[in-house]
């Protein structure tokens, strides 16, 4: 079968996937962004304006997944649209099924890999470098590069990948590989946290005053306790304690 969707179109889909969440809303979530990203493929596949508008409107329906891995779903959907346009298999229900299955499966893998592992890992690496190196921009650059390079690489290459492999891309082998990456990042993240804590206790080998070390240990202890609860959020704990401490010191001014 011929492949009318060329690399230029797949690249345009990847580029537009950067706006996947621009119109994120509670009703359709990424639906509008999904249609926007897929528009270059539909423009090529459906020269008839009316038919193209019907397809585009159809694609504005609900869709949601992890935004980086959404490119894979976009590629697979472009492939299915191509089959629809050339009279092969695939219909509206088939497209809805593909979006539902890929959306939830990619979200399950992507949320764990990108939100819960790579993002905290990049943050810890960035903070550690910002605390320890004399070059102030190094931490920020490391944080950005550790996350953005794999994120953008997958965003652009994922479209072609999903287009070639289709829904079968989520085979056991890929999941096993991703699980391995997550385990490695979590272990290295633990090690980086150990170094960060050691540096916070004794920056450049100079132990900080005992009051500071106690404060650090207190924060660590309270953090471990509150981390066992989903609510309230860490921010509310940290903010409440900060406001209380500042208020207490300022109110004691006269005494």
């Amino acid at each position: 079968m011929s492949e009318p969707l060329g690399p230029g179109t797949l690249f345009a889909i990847g580029l537009r996937a950067n706006l996947l969440q621009a119109t994120w809303n509670f009703e359709r979530q990424q639906g509008l962004g999904w249609a926007f990203a897929l528009a270059p493929a539909l423009r090529e596949l459906y020269p008839d304006h009316g038919e193209r508008m019907r397809r585009l409107a159809e694609h504005t329906a609900f869709f949601n997944t992890q935004p980086t891995l959404a490119s894979i779903a976009l590629g697979a959907a472009a492939r299915l649209e191509e089959q629809r346009a050339t009279g092969g298999e695939g219909d509206e229900q088939g497209m809805a099924r593909l979006k539902a299955v890929l959306g939830s499966t990619l979200a399950a893998v992507g949320d764990r890999l990108f939100w819960f592992t790579l993002r905290p890992f990049a943050a810890v690496a960035g903070v550690l470098l910002a605390m320890t190196w004399r070059e102030p921009a190094l931490g920020a650059a490391a944080l950005w590069a550790i996350y953005a390079i794999p994120h953008l690489a997958l965003r652009f290459s994922g479209v072609g990948w999903g287009y070639r492999e289709g829904p079968g891309i989520l085979s056991g082998r890929l999941r096993t590989r991703m699980e391995r990456v997550m385990r490695a990042l979590a272990a290295i993240g633990c090690a980086l946290l150990g170094v960060t804590l050691a540096w916070a206790l004794a920056p450049a080998g100079e132990p900080r005053p005992i009051a500071v070390q106690c404060s650090l240990a207190g924060g660590l202890g309270l953090g471990l306790l509150t981390a066992q609860r989903a609510r309230p959020s860490p921010t509310r704990w940290a903010l409440a304690l900060g406001v209380l401490a500042l208020g207490w010191v300022l109110l004691r001014r006269g005494s």
Partner: protein, 234 residues
Amino acid sequence: MNGALFGTLLAGGLAALDATPVAQTLVSQPLVTATVLGLLWGDWPTALAVGIVLQILAASTLPIGARTPEDYSVGGVAGAGVALLLASVAPFEHVRQAASLIGVLVGMTAASLYVPVLRWQRRLNEGLARWCEASLRRGFERSLTQAQWAAVALAFALGVAVCGAWLALAQAAVPLVERESLRIAGVWNLLQPFWLGFGIAQLLNAFVQRRLERAGVFAATLVAAWLVLVAGTP
């Protein structure tokens, strides 16, 4: 200073874009935005002091389930911006520390208060999506692009406006920093390590996930790093 203020507002808008609507490359994370603002204001130490604390708290704030988490993109810019503005009052270490404390508190407050703004923005996007679908069905193809760019413009404007509001409010804190900077600096010297420890614990919990070997890696690295730092040799 006007250039730095303008740059801070611009950073607020760009951070609001990167957080969700455009690209999501983490350029909106507090450490990155604080570093940029440090360059703009010519004060790296204050910017990094605020950026590090907000970053460690931002990293431990995870988007679990349907919850809209605190938004540290605009919060990070507001916090670092306010700290830099207050630190520019006088060139003393205790003023810098007092400004850092207020900056971190503003950052966390701004991140929390931005949640209802985000929800409102997303409700507006619902209307935009319905309009877009109806327009497409009427054959108006450009409505898709127009809806996308309208949402991007709204997100950018909200980021700029919220950062501007926090910077304007920060002017009210200038007398407090001038008068009480020594006391506030004392609080910073204890709260900063507390917040760091608190954030590290949250992240550790996220990485360990009740696996003993990972907790072991953390403990072993902590001891080894401590020995290397303090004794100079492992």
